[in-house]
């Protein structure tokens, strides 16, 4: 098995900038929490925040790079400088993206005023929002360093940073990555600050983790990345020895009261590192300072550890930096081991005796080998990491590793599939598509989740209903045995985000909807599906622009164990105002399309309708597509087994996409090509719908000639033959779907 070394790290928080300054600040026990200078709303309460003071408030007028991107670049530069090389793969945990900049424009342009509700207004301001999407943060880092590999964006709320590191660990161990920059970033924003406030989860007197008078969090910002490699270095900051991911499958925002999911993630991380709980020297708590989190986390620890090791939370020092905190605390965990100290719990004065665990109040010198670092988030998303100071490959084999090593190739077996489009559910969608008819449009809302009791879905927005419908269409709950959920959405829950921000604007900061805030998180759909299926395994959400489906697929094929069953889902909602504003491929005057695809997947090939694998995802625009295929699976498959190509060329990438496609096709005589966005319409996860069409064709062993604009004869497929699904977004993607 491969050891994953930390050879570089970068960190920015409200406390400090850089490794040395962060250690120095932790040693003083001071807090970075204070007033924000980034935005103010006339009627809103003053909320203390953790603002990264090392980053200037405004960048130069000529540069409109959002604050989140600037934080990410700064931390990435530190990590890359320390490692002395460029990373090939990026895994970025993020929940805010360019939202702060978007908010600034909304407020300045009076975006939510009724008189500005028009396509022409949208068209006029659209260019300002080009860095709104979460994926643009990872893209910016990839551009800065010229990373040729995939730039993945994990968005699992407050566990994003740790979940990103867990995914990077899996990619490196499986050999699908050799070097990776992984961590998290978030900037302050109105949405998150007033969202948590609407849930009464902000402590206006300052965060006091594990204190008996704790009242909540202080929203903060920051960024942190680990530079990870499987090449044995001369020296390193430590190793990522293990990771555990779980889902509570319990509630949209509250943790399981006994911390069952948290406990499972911790147990898994420790086992994955080949350790026993008693070998952990220090637990870096999630420790947010909310009544519920600290109580649930304490119960989970009490259940897992006979005698818990020293533990502490640094959230009172840094604030709660959402997606960044998992990255920041992974860096602090490495520092704690390397430099031999246990950070204190800034803000905690009277530890809550009822918790049954007693935090380390002030920093103490200690010899630390193995640190367990926890990050939990909305949607019941739990991630735990073990950061160790061992080398020489001293970490032992865990179960997850054994799985990864045993998998000969990582094709996923697809047992069932689903699609939702403008013409209806799976059957209607695929009938139309197979006859070459367009399905673009938006399905009527009453057709979504029609089989579920109204009360169970009353709080759900369109995107979550799309996800639940895809899941139900793919596999009924009762028979599924689904453990894990992999979810992709280019733009997330636009309805809830829009409603929340409009409410905030209209009330000048006074009144906001907690239901909209909870629903607005990118992983709320996957969290809700997990509740429906009681899926308590891995739960990962991706927001990777036009490659969101491919990113979820990549994680699924990397992380699903030999006996595991999972749902792979991807969808986007067409929102009247936000979709044409944010998505560069959606013309402000064009009718909207939405929907997606869903797949019931696992490893066991018995009963599989099709096999599916992501063979390439990345920015390598220099290398011809045919060579990317050659490097990945050899050109013989293309000439002998490939029966058709489904090409997803987003409108905004038309010229470049067509150029690359025609260059590719020149190598193959008379290959049938479907440009599927002509049928699906323009939305980020159109690839998932096309994948469902491919699976259905392979199941029927029959590719209808009507799919192709040059009206070909139908093709009969035999075993080993398949369809190549290409994506021409900001990243290029190559997926093979093969008949068993």
């Amino acid at each position: 098995m491969k050891t994953v070394y930390i050879v570089g790290a970068g960190v920015i928080s409200s406390l400090a900038c850089g490794l040395e300054a962060t250690e120095a600040a932790l040693r003083t026990g001071r807090s970075g929490i204070g007033a924000s200078s980034l935005f103010s709303l006339p009627l809103a309460p003053e909320l203390p925040v953790g603002q990264a003071s090392c980053l200037s408030e405004k960048n130069s007028d000529s540069d409109d790079m959002p604050r989140c991107h600037r934080l990410a670049l700064l931390a990435a530069e530190q990590a890359v400088a320390m490692a002395g090389e460029k990373p090939r793969t990026l895994v970025v945990g993020c929940t805010t993206g360019g939202i702060l900049t978007s908010e600034n424009f909304f407020w300045r342009d009076d975006f939510f005023a009724p008189e500005n509700e028009s396509a022409s207004f949208n068209a006029h301001v659209k260019a300002k929002y080009r860095r709104h999407g979460l994926t643009t943060v990872a893209e910016e880092i990839a551009r800065r360093f010229g990373c040729p590999g995939p730039a993945l964006t994990v968005s699992t709320a407050c566990s994003s940073g740790a979940a990103a590191i867990a995914l990077a660990l899996a990619l490196l161990r499986s050999g699908q990555a050799t070097t990776a920059l992984a961590g998290g970033v978030d900037s302050l924003s109105r949405l998150t600050c007033f969202g948590f406030h609407s849930l009464q989860l902000v402590d206006v007197a300052g965060c006091k983790p594990l204190d008996k008078n704790r009242r909540g969090i202080n929203v903060a910002e920051g960024a942190a990345f680990l530079f990870l490699t499987t090449k044995k270095p001369r020296q390193c900051l430590g190793v990522v020895a293990g990771a555990g991911l779980s889902c509570d499958a319990y509630h949209a925002s509250a943790p399981h009261p006994q911390g069952l999911g948290a406990r499972a993630a911790m147990a898994m991380a420790i086992q994955d590192a080949g350790l026993k709980p008693e070998e952990i020297d220090y637990i870096n708590l999630h420790g947010t300072g909310t009544a519920d989190n600290d109580a649930a986390e304490a119960m989970a620890i009490a259940a897992l550890f006979a005698a818990p090791p020293p533990l502490s939370s640094i959230k009172g020092a840094t604030g709660h930096s959402l997606a960044a905190c998992g990255g920041i605390e992974a860096v602090v965990s490495a520092l704690a081991g390397r430099k031999g100290f246990i950070p204190g719990t800034t803000g905690c004065r009277e530890p809550d005796a009822a918790l049954g665990i007693r935090p380390q109040l002030s920093l103490q010198e200690a010899k630390i080998t193995h640190v367990l670092s926890n990050s939990f988030g909305f949607g019941g998303n739990n991630a735990a990491l073990v950061i160790s100071q061992v080398d020489e490959g001293a970490t032992a084999l865990g179960d997850a590793l054994a799985d990864a090593e045993n998998i000969a190739d990582n094709f996923l077996a697809v047992y069932e599939y689903a699609a939702v489009s403008g013409v209806g559910l799976t059957k209607e969608t695929l009938l139309s598509l197979q006859s070459g008819q367009p399905v673009a449009g938006r399905i009527a809302p009453e057709r979504l989740c029609a089989d579920l009791p109204q009360r169970a879905v009353r709080r759900l927005g369109r995107l979550t209903k799309l996800a639940l419908t895809l899941a139900e269409e793919a596999v009924p709950v009762a028979t599924s045995g689904i453990e894990s959920i992999f979810w992709g959405s280019g733009w997330g829950a636009l309805s809830e985000t829009y409603n929340f921000l409009r409410g905030l604007a209209e009330s000048a900061g006074r009144f906001t909807s907690p239901i909209d805030f909870v629903g607005s998180t990118h992983n709320s759909a996957a969290g809700r599906v997990a509740i429906e299926y009681q899926a308590q395994g891995k739960n990962l959400s991706f927001s990777g622009g036009d490659a969101s489906f491919e990113q979820a697929l990549f994680a699924a094929q990397t992380m699903i164990g030999n006996t595991e069953k999972a749902l792979l889902l991807a969808a986007d909602e067409g929102h009247d105002r936000f979709s044409p504003l944010f998505d560069p491929s959606i013309h402000p005057d064009a009718p909207l399309a939405d929907g997606g695809g869903g797949f019931f997947v696992g490893r066991d090939r018995r009963g599989a309708k099709c096999l599916m694998r992501l063979d390439f995802l990345g920015h390598d625009d220099e290398t011809p597509l045919v060579n990317l295929c050659k490097n990945s699976f050899g050109v013989a498959w293309l000439t002998r087994y490939c029966a058709a190509i489904f090409a997803g060329i987003p409108q905004a990438r038309q010229a470049e996409g067509e150029r690359r496609l025609s260059e590719f096709l020149a190598e193959f005589n008379d290959m049938p090509v479907l440009r599927h966005r002509n049928l699906t319409g323009e939305f980020a996860t159109a690839q998932a719908m096309a994948a469902a069409l491919a699976v259905s064709s392979i199941e029927a062993a029959h590719i209808p000639g009507a799919l192709f604009s040059d009206r070909r004869d139908d093709t009969i497929l035999s075993s080993g033959q398949g369809i190549l699904l290409l994506g021409f977004g900001t990243m290029t993607s190559i997926v093979r779907l093969v008949k068993v």
Binding site: L199, S253, Q454, R458, R459, P514, V518
Partner: protein, 86 residues
């Protein structure tokens, strides 16, 4: 008071999207939170915002909140008495 009760029934049905019940079937004395309607802590917070926005009545204490949101009738009583005080 009765007018307020009827108004609140309509408001909660729309605010919490309880579209499967009608105002005339909304039992004002039934357990509101954690009862048959499936109303939970997030809904309570949503109602807190509505009560402040529409009636100018602030409920920012969990203990009081528990009592206030025990039923629709108690919510109406609380709004009624605190509106008068204002």
């Amino acid at each position: 008071m009765n007018a307020l009760l009827e108004e609140l029934k309509e408001k909660l049905i729309s605010l919490l999207n309880l579209s499967d019940i009608r105002p005339e079937n909304f039992d004002e004395n039934a357990q509101l939170v954690g009862g048959e309607l499936g109303i939970d802590s997030i809904d309570v917070l949503e109602m807190v915002v509505m009560v402040e926005k529409d009636y100018g009545v602030v409920i920012n204490n969990q203990e009081i909140g528990k009592e206030v949101f025990s039923s629709l009738a108690s919510l109406a009583r609380y709004i009624e008495s605190h509106r008068k005080m204002a």
